[in-house]
């Protein structure tokens, strides 16, 4: 026994030595060969929603860091949020005094983190810097800036996000087989869904096909069905807010929702919806779709692209069902109008300057200068960040830029630097590799041209009681859709939301905010 304890002690000593050796070597001092006038600022850049999860080779191997250091005097320490527990970690860091200088994420005014940070003085207004760096101001128009504004000030910068990606994709071969025309209204949509479910469009004699499917997600009732419900002006399980007759409308309580749920209930009863819709997760959904279990989905313009992105199912479709012919449909007409989707939050990923950065005004200016160039597609910085090194990741061909190919695994860390991209058409043309089918850009233009419904809840400060209200709405919508709750109880449901779940309070608060923003008189 003594020997074992002695061995343990030895192990402990070895471990101590190892641990000491594994401590990071002291940060290298600033490159002494720098010209004396250019001051270098060390900044911590926290990516809360990184665009990749590739292995980061470390600061020393990161040539982008060196480039930025050389040109902008910023010594950037990239802090990548963990895949799991990002919020907890960031919160603990901030509370513990380790506030990053620059935070990237998707923090608009509708996020509680944003409002908390503003209230607690964690992030700072960027208005003073917009004067010196006016190009940043032009990234968004006045309405879009609202998404980053609170109390009359702007609390971050962001590029404009892309236009609409979503529309309905339908199995043309099934339509052909059953001699149907593509649906244009919600009634026709229901008929086609029913036909897909009952008339055996894949001809295998088994009742294994459906009109639609979906998958659930922790915060919504249904995913990938937006284009079916946008025409109704209501999306089961969600509460989009819009303005009608100068009043705030909660779509979840409106007659539009009643119509939408009745429609859905009809499909459920007729067994036109895949019964797995409620238990599917993303992977199951992908498989369902690829294997030809359903005939219609809401998909992005990249739906049939054979690439490994989250909305590209091309590879699965090719492997499982290469004869499937998927085509896009223009916006379907419903009781609210012809819409293909809900308006996306027009603001892309957001960048926030923190108190740590502004404590040193020169540092903050240096960061803003860097941001201005990074978000400007005419600069060399932008080219480096978003496209990479000429010859390595990108090449010039006939005076045009071409992204060389899908990045090999050891270069995928460059994704950490690409989130300054601007969603311009030129971006789409360049970013796709040579193997991308030529019509992809046309597909994007098609979806971008579809009408979308304007919504407002994503530009309002959240209310305390919202989470409870939303979860109750979700639960009730599920019940109405499945028929477990009769539609005759609709008014009772509305009443409950307005009173017990403080819906009236939330609505009044939203109205007040919209008045302040000048969107309601």
């Amino acid at each position: 026994m003594k020997r074992i304890l002695a061995a343990a002690l030895a192990l402990i000593m070895i471990a101590t030595v190892l641990a000491a050796c594994s401590k990071k070597p002291e940060e290298k001092a600033v490159d002494p060969a720098k010209p004396a006038e250019k001051k270098v600022y060390k900044i911590n850049y926290w990516q809360h929603a990184p665009w990749t999860r590739a292995a980061y080779p470390g600061k020393d191997q990161d040539w982008m860091v060196k480039y930025i250091l050389e040109k902008y005097g910023l010594d950037i320490n990239l802090q990548i949020a963990p895949a799991d527990g990002a919020d907890a970690k960031l919160n603990a860091m901030i509370a513990g005094g380790d506030i990053p200088d620059l935070i990237q994420g998707y923090f608009t005014v509708a996020s509680t983190a944003f409002t908390q940070w503003v209230q607690q003085g964690v992030i700072m207004p960027v208005d003073p810097y917009l004067k010196e760096f006016p190009k940043l101001n032009t990234l968004l128009n006045e309405r879009q800036w609202q998404y980053l504004s609170m109390d009359g000030k702007k609390w971050g910068v962001a590029p404009y996000s892309d236009k609409n990606f979503d529309t309905i994709w339908i199995r043309q071969d099934w339509l052909d087989k059953l001699n149907l025309k593509a649906p244009t209204t919600t009634e026709e949509l229901a008929k086609v869904a029913l036909a897909f479910a009952t008339q055996d469009p894949d001809g295998n004699g088994k009742p294994d096909t459906y009109g639609l499917t979906s998958h659930t997600n922790t915060n919504v009732l249904m995913s990938r069905v937006d284009s079916f419900f946008a025409p109704f002006g209501a999306m089961p399980g969600s509460n989009q807010m819009y303005i009608e007759n100068n009043q705030v409308v909660f779509s979840a309580l409106s007659d539009n929702m009643k119509n939408a749920l009745t429609w859905m209930n009809g499909l459920v009863k007729a067994k036109a919806i895949d019964p797995d819709w409620m238990t599917n997760k993303n992977e199951n959904w992908r498989q369902s779709v690829a294997q030809g279990r359903v005939g219609m989905v809401t998909g992005q313009f990249q739906f049939t692209r054979e690439s490994a992105c989250s909305d590209c199912l091309g590879m699965e479709i090719k492997a499982a069902n290469p004869n499937a012919k998927w085509v896009m449909l223009p916006a379907i007409k419903g009781s609210k109008g012809a819409y293909s989707a809900w308006e996306k939050t027009p603001v892309g990923n957001t960048f926030h300057l923190t108190r740590k950065a502004t404590d040193d005004p020169e540092k903050a200016k240096a960061i803003m200068k860097f941001l201005q160039d990074a978000l400007d597609d005419k600069t060399e910085l932008y080219d480096m960040l978003v496209w990479g090194k000429p010859g390595e990741q990108i090449e010039m061909k006939d005076g045009k830029k071409w992204a060389r190919m899908v990045l090999p695994p050891e270069q995928q860390w460059l994704g950490y630097w690409r989130n300054w991209r601007l969603g311009t058409d030129e971006y789409w043309q360049v970013s796709w590799r040579k193997e991308t089918p030529a019509d992809l850009l046309d597909k994007y233009k098609f979806t971008a041209a579809q009408p979308v419904i304007t919504r407002y809840e994503n530009m309002l400060k959240p209310h305390d009681a919202t989470a409870d209200m939303l979860s109750y709405m979700r639960e009730m919508h599920a019940k109405f859709a499945l028929g477990e709750e009769p539609m005759s109880n609709w008014d009772k449901y509305v009443q409950t939301v307005m009173t017990k779940y403080r819906g009236k309070e939330i609505m009044d608060d939203a109205t007040a905010q919209l008045k302040k923003l000048g969107l309601i008189k």
Binding site: A15, T52, F165
Partner: protein, 289 residues
């Protein structure tokens, strides 16, 4: 030894039942393993559910093992597990032993105070501050020290020590042995099953540990295996509005399953070794005389 017929029937029934248990437990795991070996195209085509894959590929394993970070992460996990478990056991033993002595004054109070910490915890922020102020961030110690004693395990060990007959200790004490001597020469040799079990608990805890490393280690060269594996698994694009561009290679099902299998293998190997120490009859002959 003559086995009665009743005994034999019992043995067969027992075996049959346990085989069933093993199959029920194992079948889904085998399914995952088989998925990890199936090429993506085949997976899409058949949607899983073939326990024996029609085609086998080692692509996923190759991809994971060639990720630059993996061998490093593996080493990190090995070191953390070895060092951590040793410290865990040492600390747990020397803390449980005194608490198991019924006549120690203040024993009940101390046990109560220790149990209290199982239910009450100050939360993430003070712990983060503590680790930061102790300068433990970006070291192995940030992962090893905060969990140095798991109260549950401590109570288990204490309970086990308490169940050992007093006479043995008395005999040793009368011979003039110090408490330390009693612990090492008498108590520990009899405690092999519980030490092995707790070694397994602590070891597995370290091997699968993720949260502490995620919070306190930012240097990617120090990350343990689970954190790296999770980063590979996690879908970076939770928000489909985010990256319309396909820089991110979505981990296919095959890859996901392979990461699970890789993390499981050491665990598989650990138990048989542990079980060696579950030998019965530890107490035979110790009280005679």
């Amino acid at each position: 030894m003559i086995i009665s017929r009743g005994e034999r029937v019992f043995q067969w029934v027992n075996v049959a039942f346990l085989v069933l248990v093993a199959v029920v437990a194992l079948f889904p795991v085998l399914y995952l393993v088989s998925m990890s070996l199936t090429p993506l195209e085949v997976l899409y085509k058949y949607g899983g559910f073939r326990v024996i894959p029609p085609q086998v590929t080692l692509e996923a394993y190759k991809q994971i093992l060639s990720t630059p970070l993996i061998p490093r992460a593996f080493m990190n996990s090995v070191i953390i597990t070895a060092v951590g478990t040793t410290i865990n056991l040492a600390l747990t033993i020397i803390t449980a032993y005194p608490l198991s002595k019924r006549r120690l004054p203040g024993r009940s109070v101390l046990t109560l105070l220790v149990t209290f910490t199982m239910m009450f915890s100050g939360g993430l922020i003070p712990s983060y501050l503590l680790v930061k102020n102790l300068g433990l961030r970006d070291t192995y110690w940030a992962v090893i020290l905060p969990g140095a004693i798991a109260t549950y395990n401590l109570l288990v060990m204490k309970g086990f020590f308490e169940s050992l007959p007093e006479e043995l200790n008395e005999a040793a004490r009368i011979d003039g042995a110090s408490e330390w001597r009693v612990l090492t020469s008498v108590t520990l040799p009899l405690s092999k099953p519980v030490i092995a079990t707790l070694g397994l608990f602590y070891g597995v805890g370290h091997w699968n540990g993720f949260f502490d490393a995620m919070m306190y280690i930012s240097d990617s060269r120090l990350l343990p295996l689970q954190v790296v594996l999770r980063n590979i698994l996690m879908d970076a694009m939770r928000n489909t509005e985010v990256t319309p561009d396909a820089i991110q290679v979505m981990p296919g099902e095959t890859l996901k399953m392979a990461t699970v299998v890789i993390a499981l293998i050491p665990v598989l190997l650990a138990y048989p070794w542990v079980q060696k120490h579950f030998t019965k009859g530890v107490l035979i002959g110790s009280i005679k005389g």
